[in-house]
Amino acid sequence: MEDMKTGLRKIRRRDFLKLGGMVAAGSVAAPWLAGCGGGGAAGGQVTIAAVNNPQMEDMEGLLGDLKKKTDITAKFQFLPENDLRQRVTQDVSLNAGNFDIVMVGAYETPIWAQSNWLEPLDPFFEQMSEKERSAYDLDDILQTWRTSLSYEDQLYAIPFYGESSSLIYRTDLFEKAGIEMPERPTWEQVTGFAEELDGIEDGVSGIAMRGLPGWGANMAPFDTFVNTYGGSWYNLNWEPQLTTPEFRDAIVAYANLAEFAQPGITSDNFPECLTLFSSGKAAMWYDATVAGGLVSDPKASEVADQVGFAYAPTAVTPNGSHWLWCWSLGIEAASKNKEGAFEFLKWSTSKDYINLVGKKLGYNRVPPGTRRSTYEDTPYGKLPWTEVELTSIETADPENPTRDPVPYTGIQFITIPEWQALGDSVGRLLASVLIGDMTPEEMQQRAQAEALQVAKQGKYLKN
């Protein structure tokens, strides 16, 4: 009897699960059936794989405008940068076509274009009417981007927002110490400033810097050090150049500066540094120009009206002293709705979109760094950081990133597929140097070995 009762209780629980299963089966059928009906030509639905930066999330909120103008429904898959890149790489390289639009950086675009994983965009532009073309004004998009996002003279992606790197600093702390920041400082000067300002107030570090290992994390600023100190990764014969005195200078400079940087630097990337600077715990911060808007927003930053902006510091050469990065939108070659995808691309990178963001959310939130008109014709151009931002972007030249000629392009990365692993690896070595586990010479030796293996395995080095 007892068994029966408890048995019944057990059966009821399992029935509940089974019922859930039937409901599940039913709800599986529904979208499957729905999918049979919809989709198709321009209009319909597009799926976008994107980084979940604030600008992209803002876009998600404005999708009603897209629907109104083009009748397209857009669905986003947001992921943090690393996960996104891996997920999308998997998708494009195995031709899965799960996404119509992918967010790609200046790094991936030429590489993926070469493998025919992205759809060339010129044919779409040619199909536009005169009126549409002049309204869209492709030439308004900064030349730097049109060059870096092209492969063999074909455009493969359109920038959604772009950045370079610059130095931001606390005007009040500089005043307190009685020092002045030149418009174009050198790293030697900056290290001196950092030393003076470290600890000037309780809990304030001289500078906030990225230290988290990663090709897009600590290697981005570090690579600009390598470039501006006269170093490079490979010479024209693809022989690795990591044991040169110039490369050592870069390591030493980075490590010296790190002595006046925030504690625990090796766990910090952009978000952590942003938190530090915005809460007043750093006197300077060398990072993306995009930081300008974020630290000047009184709703998010405690130091919003005490920020000054200087150009990225230099050392031996101005080449490659500030980086170039954009998040841009490209169409997967395996996409099933390319017309719809292009409509989305046009909408999200148009002048109208920029003004839409400006009016609805405030001009400090527009996606920066892509169009000249953003700076010249909208209130955005009057904001304090935008002059440094625009000049930096326009003077960053990925085709000439170093003092001496090199066989690769790219300022804070080198545009080969193997860079991700190499950059990650060297980034880890650099972190070890920062915490004192390794000397610069050891790092050079090991990095050189890795770079050599990459050159050989990737068949760049002919021998």
Binding site: S115, P213, P263, G264, T266, T275, L276, A421, R428, I435
Partner: protein, 308 residues
């Protein structure tokens, strides 16, 4: 023995000969699971082994897929870093298991009595098991041990401990604590069950004989617990050898490669380096290592249990 005879002597019911029908019943019950699991797990496994003999860089389609025999294996096994990471994998597993065995035992002993709010306390102690590994990583990295904003960092600062950054200074230990935090509830529950399974008579007999608390533990509870330890250690080992989320979010394998395990190394090769062939080889090596560890553990623990 009994079953065979009983079945044969039954007049009604089974019409076939007893052994065949029992065999058929067994197969009928077993084969669906066997076949389905085999298909889902073994086909990809065979594919992985095949891939491990290739050089295939996903982002270099121009280089194609070339056959390299044991090339990937040789490359990996001759890299010093690989062996370090292998040792780190074992270290994390051993440390986490040790912590779980001790903490789980302690908590089980403390819980094996009646007291106010027992249910609530047990429930609260069990919660870490249900937290996603990535969330554990976030809690350790941001909430507790962030060098600038972490609560424990702040507490360390209060007692004069500056520069407190265990995630960078002792990453292996930190990873082990994350894993131990997540898995001690299971150990606690299993060992608690073991304690509660001890018949009261044995305890009473021991106390009548004049045993103190410690002797009761040493001679009665501990031997009873050995089979339970075996079960939960085996289960834990399979999972802990492969922890990923905690490392991914918590330390990203760093600093350097000092908190990487084999699973993380495979991830780096497969998804960052996009070297599918090499990653597959590392995977196969990990499989072999896991099997060795499992069979050794099983043999050791069977021996220990039998002796008790």
């Amino acid at each position: 023995m009994v079953s065979g005879q009983a079945a044969q002597s039954s007049g009604q019911g089974k019409t076939q000969a007893a052994p065949t029908s029992r065999g058929r019943q067994r197969r009928m019950l077993l084969y669906p699971a066997l076949v389905i699991v085999a298909i889902i797990t073994q086909i990809p496994f065979v594919f992985t082994v095949y891939l491990s003999f290739l050089n295939w860089n996903l982002t270099r389609p121009d280089l194609g897929r070339t056959f390299t025999g044991l090339g990937n294996y040789v490359l990996e096994l001759s890299t010093a870093e690989f062996w370090t990471i292998l040792l780190q994998t074992l270290a994390i597993t051993a440390m986490a298991l040790a912590m779980c065995c001790l903490i789980g035992l302690g908590l089980a002993l403390l819980l094996n009595r009646d007291f106010f709010a027992k249910g609530l306390i047990q429930t609260l102690l069990v919660t870490p098991f249900f937290i996603m590994p990535v969330v554990t990583g976030l809690i350790w990295k941001n909430e507790l041990f962030s060098p600038n904003f972490g609560i424990i960092t702040w507490m360390a600062g209060l007692i004069g401990f500056d520069g407190f950054n265990p995630m960078a200074q002792q990453p292996l230990i930190m990873v082990s604590t994350m894993v131990a935090w997540e898995w001690e509830p299971l150990f606690m529950l299993v060992l608690l069950a073991g304690l509660q399974a001890i018949p009261e008579e044995e305890r009473e007999a021991a106390q009548l004989d004049g045993c103190n608390r410690f002797m009761v533990f040493r001679y009665i509870e501990l031997p009873h617990l050995l089979p339970y330890y075996r079960m939960v250690i085996l289960l834990g080992t399979i999972f802990i050898l492969q922890v990923f989320g905690e490392i991914y979010v918590g330390t990203a394998g760093g600093p350097g490669t000092s908190s990487m395990n084999l699973q993380y190394l495979t991830y780096e090769e497969a998804l960052v380096g996009t070297q599918v062939g090499l990653a597959s080889a590392i995977g196969v090596i990990t499989l072999i290592l896991t099997l060795i560890v499992l069979t050794s553990l099983l043999r050791i623990m069977n021996a220990v249990v039998k002796e008790a």
